[in-house]
């Protein structure tokens, strides 16, 4: 790549990707790694108590 020709031009877009549904195990892994143990992310009861529809 030369200095005069950038890899990206203004207005370029990445192709869209469809990812599989978010899983509970992903949420648990992130909660563990981020230290955010807010139960609204991992248990349905806590989410409902907080006025949220599901975890």
């Amino acid at each position: 790549v030369s200095a005069t020709k950038p890899v990206w031009e203004i207005g370029d877009e990445l192709e869209s990707r469809t990812l599989p549904p978010v899983t509970r195990s992903q949420l648990e892994k992130y909660a563990e790694a981020s230290g955010d143990h807010n139960p609204i992310h991992t248990t349905d009861e806590a989410a409902e108590e907080a006025g949220l529809p599901g975890s």
């Binding site: 992903q26 892994k29 992130y30 563990e32 790694a33 981020s34 230290g35 955010d36 143990h37 807010n38 139960p39 609204i40 108590e49 907080a50 006025g51 949220l52």
Partner: protein, 150 residues
Amino acid sequence: LPFRRFVGERSEAVSNVVEKDAVRKFAEAIGDPNPLYVNEEAAKASRYGRLLAPPTFPRTFEYGEVEGIGPPGQRLIHGEHRIRYERPLFVGEEVSCSVEVTDYYEKEGQDGALGFLISERVGETLEEERIFSMLDTAIVTPAMREGIEP
């Protein structure tokens, strides 16, 4: 709006270390395979010369608590995070972190007023050089507010 009384309050700064293991775990959890987070050799050969932390890694830090607001993680929902870096965050460095409540307002929602608590979190070196600042919106539902309002 009882939460307004927190606006302008800042926590005592807390020291955090960017641990190599924590970065590896975090990169794995977010599914980011960038070798600059985990591979020493790749990091050394890069323009940075050392391992980096992923951009959203500062979420894992302790920022101290604004007095009276309680442990935020238990009661608040994340609404927005915006992180501005002055330079990359490196594995192994010590970061002094604090949080200030900068605004609070409410909007009428379906089940009562929703609160929006705006905070600014900052990370600095021990020499007070700014590394990042993070604008952070937390949403406070009426059910959550019950536990916190006097």
